[in-house]
């Protein structure tokens, strides 16, 4: 495109600044809100006049503790287990799709695609009924199983895309040297595939962490209710007090792991998202 003029340079810098503000403004707002004192919450200003920890105290040690802490534990446990199961299943599946010649590969990929466009709420109605009958309503397993419908398809697509880029000659070389398919897979491919598997796990975790529909429909108590659903049920410490501050503080806490993962692994996450979706 030739040399970039000073004016063009300034234009792209401004464009970059716009993106920066666009992406972070609502986040900055909720962080600001979480540090406002109750008196500040209604002053209609963007920034707090003085910083206070009172909202964090309320959800971690105070009145909203019994609502927030169990929900946080549920969210972490359920999202991690669902991620783990779907990445393990998807790993074997994607390896087979990328590498082995067997009838049904297309069928599996098409099924994954169909499942990923499935309206979650359509699954909720029968599950709500079934889970009540067989006792999975309001349990961890009762959320982990439906979460697989969210995390498994994207894991299969993303991982197959990663696996296709692995230099498979090395595996063939191992097989020529007398290793079975299984040995070649375990000794040669697994280490090469680890970064892709890891990226897939992060994306699957984001999706499970984000779920709201299953969370509010298939739980009723602290036993399994995840954070996004619990946020919707927050109330103030008295009926005259809006729970705005407590919700903001809780929102900031559940956002921290997400932001940390993004900061650490942005390059991989972008590669994972776009590989699975556009390039293959």
């Amino acid at each position: 495109m030739g040399a970039i003029s000073g004016r063009e340079r300034a234009a792209w810098l401004i464009g970059g600044l716009v993106i920066f503000v666009y992406a972070l403004f609502p986040v900055a707002w909720i962080v600001s809100l979480s540090f406002k004192s109750p008196a500040d919450l209604t002053n209609k200003k963007f920034l707090p006049t003085s910083f206070t920890k009172v909202n964090y105290e309320q959800i971690l040690t105070g009145g909203a503790k019994d609502l927030f802490l169990p929900a946080l534990r549920n969210s972490i446990g359920i999202a991690l287990i669902a991620t783990f199961i779907s990445v393990i299943l998807a790993m074997f599946c994607a390896y087979a799709i990328a590498r082995l010649n067997f009838p049904g590969r297309r069928l599996i990929l098409t099924t994954a695609l169909a499942v990923s466009i499935f309206p979650v709420i359509s699954i909720v109605t029968p599950l709500f009924n079934l889970w009540r009958e067989i006792g999975l309503y309001d349990t961890w397993a009762g959320l982990i199983i439906p979460y697989l419908s969210l995390t498994l398809p994207i894991s299969i697509w993303t991982l197959s895309a990663f696996f296709r880029e692995i230099p498979w000659e090395m595996e063939q070389a191992a097989q020529v040297d007398g290793a079975t398919s299984w040995q070649a897979f375990r000794k040669v491919i697994v280490p090469l595939a680890a970064p892709g598997v890891f990226t897939t796990a992060i994306i699957a975790f984001f999706i499970a962490w984000n779920d709201f529909v299953y969370g509010i429909s298939l739980t009723s108590t602290n036993a399994a209710r995840p954070v996004p659903a619990a946020l919707a049920f927050f109330t103030g410490s008295s009926q005259f007090e809006e729970p705005t501050g407590a919700i903001s503080a809780a929102a900031v806490i559940v956002t921290i792991p997400v932001v940390v993962l993004v900061l650490l692994f942005q390059r991989r996450i972008v590669a994972g998202l776009t590989n699975g979706a556009v390039k293959g």
Binding site: V27, L100, S149, I216, P228, V278
Partner: protein, 318 residues
């Protein structure tokens, strides 16, 4: 992974070699041993529930009154399709879908252009920050936008009170159009990054030589955009639009948090939720779920046939 799955019988259509070698047979069996469990789980968590919903939708069945469960065949569907509540929900859902997808496509393309051309110094920063809205929980984003526009805690009324129609006391969630605007804004903020990342990947596939040739021939920036760039990334645009359309059509979290369907903002997903979970009308709720499912299938069908998208190819399976 000891679960062995029988190969699906319909897949036997693949031309069979006269003598299947041991190695090929072993590969085939290993293929299904490895891929089978994921396949079975996917079917179990979706096909079974939707079949079950189809069955339940034929009953008059209220959870609080299980003894009066009666088979009513298609009556639930007749009731729903004859009810303005359903059509209103469909209309609102379509409105949200069209507004958000169009706006996201425009903004997403702009962001992708900037990221594509941004100086190498700030590119990593941009790629990081753009992921933050994508990764943030929708419910958190919904609360952030709700609080910002709220007339008790929000700064929006204060900042924009110089505009006609906005004052300190403007109640954004008191009317249909203003509620819808905030719902759409939140949805757009959260999901545009996904579109723009797909478009960025599409931009990277536009051949540089064609751009240069067009420039040498004296084409303006707009001409290059319309004649070279956009036609070359048609596949990426279509995939982005299809996925976002299907996603937007299922909109739930934002609406639930901000209005819970008040001011006529109830979407189809919210209607299904209300019938099933709030009113425990399992039969009626199942029928709404099935209809929502059919809408999503219809949208996919229109996209795949109407715009001739080869999804598998677009996703790299060509």
């Amino acid at each position: 992974m000891s679960t062995v799955t029988e190969p699906a019988p319909t897949q036997a259509a693949e031309p069979r070699r006269a003598r299947t070698t041991d190695r090929a047979r072993q590969e085939r069996s290993l293929g299904w041993k490895l891929a089978g469990p994921a396949f079975v789980v996917m079917l179990a968590v979706t096909a079974y529930p939707i079949a079950n919903a189809l069955w339940l939708s034929l009953f008059d069945y209220r959870l609080t009154d299980p003894t009066n469960r009666r088979f009513v065949f298609l009556k639930n569907y007749v009731v729903i399709l004859g009810d303005p509540i359903w059509w209103r929900a469909v209309g609102v859902t379509l409105l949200i879908t069209v507004i958000t997808v169009v706006v996201e496509l425009v903004i997403g393309f702009g962001l992708a252009l900037v990221m594509n051309k941004a100086l190498s110094l700030i590119r990593p920063v941009l790629r990081t920050v753009i992921l933050i809205p994508y990764a943030i929980i929708t419910v958190v984003s919904a609360f952030a936008w709700q609080f910002a526009f709220s007339n008790t805690s929000g700064f929006v009324n204060d900042w924009f009170s110089f505009l006609p129609g906005i004052s300190e006391t403007t109640d954004w969630f008191g009317g249909f159009w203003s509620s819808l605007a905030v719902i759409c804004a939140s949805e757009i903020w959260k999901t545009t990054p996904f579109i723009s990342l797909l478009l960025l990947a599409g931009l990277a596939q536009v051949p540089e030589e064609m751009q240069e040739a067009a420039q040498v021939d004296g084409a303006t920036w707009w001409q290059r955009m319309y004649k070279v760039t956009i036609p070359n990334m048609k596949a990426a645009i279509m995939v982005a639009v299809l996925f976002r359309t299907l996603d937007a059509f299922r909109v739930f979290d934002n609406v639930f948090i901000m209005t819970a369907g008040a001011q006529g903002t109830e979407t189809v997903s919210l209607l299904a939720y209300r019938q099933t979970i709030t009113r425990v009308e399992i039969g009626m709720g199942s029928a709404v779920s099935v209809l929502l499912f059919l809408c999503v299938v219809l949208i996919s069908f229109v996209f795949v046939k109407g715009f001739r998208i080869n999804l598998a190819q677009a996703r790299g399976e060509g």
